[in-house]
């Protein structure tokens, strides 16, 4: 079963993302409130996909993403960024940092499914 690490400082957004994943048939989730906690979770538990916010205290999603890409163990981990930062310059910056795909808040379940399918490389049921 695919295991997701959800990194967002907003408990509301984490709940919304978990609810959306549940609707798509995924129930294996781990949570973290910022990039630093996300790194700790990845060191302690394996995750198949990371879903991260951009703007967070202590360590931003972009810095978190750069650290994931800098580690041999997590270099190829699919990372989906879920953020309000949707200007063209933002997306270019995230792609340069190595993001696998990008979801702009607010999102629908259908949009989220498309992005999850894309990062997993297969359609969800």
């Amino acid at each position: 079963m695919t295991r997701f690490l959800i990194v967002d400082d907003s408990s509301t957004m984490r709940r919304i993302i978990i609810n959306t994943l549940n609707k798509l048939g995924f129930d294996q989730t781990v949570e973290a409130a910022n990039g630093r906690e996300g790194i700790e979770r990845l060191e302690a538990d394996a995750a198949d996909v990371v879903i991260t916010d951009w703007n967070m205290p202590e360590m931003s999603g972009l810095e978190f993403l750069r650290q994931i890409r800098a580690q041999d163990r997590t270099r190829d981990l699919p990372v989906l960024m879920v953020t309000t930062n949707a200007a063209k310059d933002d997306i270019v910056e995230a792609l340069r940092a190595g993001v696998s795909n990008y979801v702009v808040k607010p999102f629908t379940t259908d949009t989220f499914k498309e992005k999850i399918d894309a990062v997993l490389g297969k359609p969800t049921p």
Binding site: R15, I16, N19, A87
Partner: protein, 161 residues
């Protein structure tokens, strides 16, 4: 009353509609915006996000009562909100998404803003007073029977907004 021809105001209303309808799953009805200091809504929960851009600095504010905030939170979470922290976090996230969507629309017009993380004030018998001359436009809206307000506050040196 004021018109909605102002591009920033127009983008703010469109952003608010997009966010609220996506997150709450109900249609939003706007009334005509009200310009000036005279009328301030009686609200218990106010989310604010500051911005800077070519028009200068300002704030986006989202006003609601605690009762309505709990309804919005429960709808977003899919379960009843049990703590004030959940309500505060949800209103902060709505404010964050509205300010973020406004920033995206301004960027598409060629004006890349910086937007702050949101702040949420909860309480009663308080009001906000800007210490410098600003332009304030209050936008009433309704979701079902719930009345809410979005406000655009722009520093007066940048009245082009």
């Amino acid at each position: 009353m004021t018109s909605v021809k102002d591009p920033v105001l127009s983008h703010l209303l469109a952003s608010s509609r997009e966010v609220l309808e996506a997150m709450i799953g109900r249609s939003v009805t706007f009334s005509l915006p009200i310009e000036g200091e005279a009328l301030r809504p009686r609200s218990n929960v106010v989310g604010t996000s500051a911005f800077t851009g070519s028009i200068g600095g300002g704030l986006v504010a989202f006003y609601t009562t605690l009762e309505t905030a709990k309804v919005l939170t429960a709808t977003m979470l899919g379960i009843p909100a049990t703590t004030d922290d959940e309500v505060i976090d949800a209103i902060g996230e709505i404010t964050n998404m509205i300010a973020g969507a406004l920033r995206t629309k301004m960027a598409a017009d060629g004006d890349l803003w910086a937007v702050s993380i949101p702040t949420v004030t909860v309480g009663s018998d308080f009001y906000t007073k800007c210490v410098r001359d600003v332009r304030r436009v209050l936008c009433p809206l309704k979701i079902d029977e719930h009345e809410l307000f979005i406000e655009l506050i722009v520093a007066s040196q940048s009245k082009a907004a």
